[in-house]
């Protein structure tokens, strides 16, 4: 397996006049081609910040340090314009809350079509056609009609399907899924996970839920307070945690599920 993405000593610091908040510290991570990698950790530990920093979407005063190696380039050194070409086309992202990631004034079809218009320069009609096709792929029924609806006419699960469709529409080489099921109820969680598995793409899957991580991921990183503290297969992590924090995290899940 070849390395697709490698993070070397990646840190994200937020600094104002007085003090520094270290959201992510010295993270080393490798994502190989075809792999689904999990990132497990409690809320507030820096998972989403790490995900956003890979796309260089950290706003000032936040600063990213270290290296993000992608196809031999360090993404932290390339100009913003090149980064825009990578976002959505080569690396794309699914956000946690489908209720707020869709723009309320656009038809759903237009939002998916936007990806083709931005990256491929497609005409309005052509982009719309592709949007309908991709909606069919994530199992939205009557895609040609549903594409004309506005986001508020969609249920949460359907919105997340749209978000998946948007992020997958250009067949990116890496998909970052930032807690894609957290805002959904259990049956919808299952449906979205099925859709994500069907895509068979390299994925960084972020969650605080070890059960979900175990069901989709080949390998897991455990994060605590901005640092990676353990790495292994889902089975190793849940059966034989090396780090006491991981053990606690795993146990707390077992307690809840009883």
């Amino acid at each position: 397996m070849s390395k697709l993405l490698e993070l070397k000593k990646l840190s994200v610091h937020y600094q104002n006049n007085k003090d520094i908040v270290k959201a992510v510290t010295n993270v080393d991570m490798v994502i190989n081609e075809g792999e689904v990698v999990g990132l497990l950790g409690e809320s507030g530990c820096g998972k989403s910040t790490l995900a956003l920093s890979i796309l260089r979407l950290i706003d000032p005063p936040g600063k990213i340090y270290g290296e993000i190696l992608w196809g031999g380039n360090n993404l932290l050194n390339i100009p913003e314009q090149n980064m825009q070409r990578i976002r959505g086309a080569e690396i794309s992202m699914i956000f946690q809350d489908p209720f707020s990631t869709l723009n309320p004034v656009f038809k759903v079809g237009e939002q998916i079509a936007e990806v083709f218009r931005v990256h491929k320069g497609s005409s309005r009609r052509e982009a719309w056609k592709k949007a309908v096709e991709i909606m069919d792929k994530v199992h939205i029924k009557d895609p040609a009609d549903r594409a004309k609806d506005y986001p508020h006419q969609f249920s949460g699960g359907m919105k997340q399907r749209v978000a998946v469709a948007m992020s997958y529409s250009l067949s990116p080489r890496l998909l970052i899924a930032d807690e894609p099921t957290t805002a959904l109820d259990v049956t919808m969680q299952k449906a979205i996970l099925e859709v994500l598995k069907e895509l068979k793409t390299t994925m960084l899957f972020i969650s605080h839920n070890i059960a979900i991580i175990s069901s989709v991921c080949d390998r897991v990183y455990v994060m605590q307070a901005g640092r990676i503290i353990e790495e292994g297969t889902p089975a190793e992590i849940s059966n034989d945690p090396k780090n006491p924090y991981t053990a606690k995290l795993v146990n707390s899940y077992k307690e809840i599920s009883i």
Partner: protein, 269 residues
């Protein structure tokens, strides 16, 4: 939704008929607006529906031609104000920081001048013709729109769909004009229609003071000015242009409000 809004329909009908009157003024008006008849200061009659003014000109014809002037001043002035206001407000709101500070302090300075005096000062330097009136009104009324747009942008740029748009690779300009701006249309359109109402009033005030549209070209404002000496003897000379100003302004308010409601996608169905 919009079809059931009676005030909106009323406003729209009034505005459409005023616009048609303005566009086809040369075909509809019964007389030349500057033609002087034998009988001055004549009350409404069959041959002169709205009567004649102090020089014996047909008031109906002058109202129709005056509408052409007043409405086109309003439309162009608001177009100028919207363009300036949206550009300045969206850039300040989206980029923030020092840039925002400088732009908004400039806006505050512009706001601190009483508009009418600012316009009077500018107009007394420029030659008072209809094009200068349009541009000056536009150039002195963009501040409210800029603030409004900036405020919208400040809150909208933090929304997650903006981050999602960045994550699919949209550039800053595309995010500003395609993703954020359409979300701020409802208040901007309301401000635009109200601004148009305001521009009609400002044009009237300027023409009333003699610094706006110059006679013999009729505008609703300078017709009001002509009437002031004859308020007791010929009240129709004041009432009729006044009525048209009120109707136009009121219709713009109704249409603006109706549009605001219908532009909210949640109220569509």
């Amino acid at each position: 939704m919009l079809r059931k809004n009676k005030l909106f329909i009323f406003g729209l009908i009034i505005l459409i008929s005023f616009s048609l009157l303005a566009v086809f003024a040369h075909m509809i008006a019964p007389y030349d607006p500057s033609e002087i008849m034998e009988n001055e200061i004549q009350g409404p009659s069959v041959s002169h529906w709205f009567g004649t003014d102090d020089l014996g000109r047909d008031i109906l014809s002058r109202i129709i031609y005056g509408g052409r002037v007043s409405l086109s001043v309003a439309v162009v002035a608001v177009a100028v104000a919207l363009t300036l206001g949206i550009l300045i407000g969206s850039i300040a709101g989206y980029f923030g920081g020092l840039f925002d500070e400088i732009i908004m302090r400039f806006t505050d300075i512009m706001l601190s001048f009483p508009t009418i005096f600012l316009i009077l000062a500018i107009q007394s330097v420029l030659s008072p013709n209809i094009y200068n009136v349009m541009i000056v009104i536009g150039a002195t009324s963009w501040m409210g729109i800029a603030r409004l747009v900036r405020g919208e942008f400040l809150s909208l740029k933090e929304r997650e769909f903006v981050e999602a748009a960045r994550a699919i690779g949209c550039s800053d300009l595309r995010i500003i004009f395609r993703h954020i701006l359409p979300n701020s249309w409802p208040p901007v359109i309301v401000a635009g229609t109200l601004g148009m109402a305001g521009a009609i009033l400002t044009e009237s005030a300027l023409s009333f003071l003699g610094l706006g549209v110059q006679p013999p070209m009729p505008s609703w404002g300078n017709m009001l000015m002509d009437s002031q000496a004859y308020l007791i003897d010929a009240p129709w000379m004041a009432v009729i242009p006044g009525l048209f100003i009120v109707l136009a302004v009121l219709s713009l308010y109704f249409v603006g409000e109706g549009l605001r409601q219908s532009l909210n996608p949640k109220e569509k169905q």
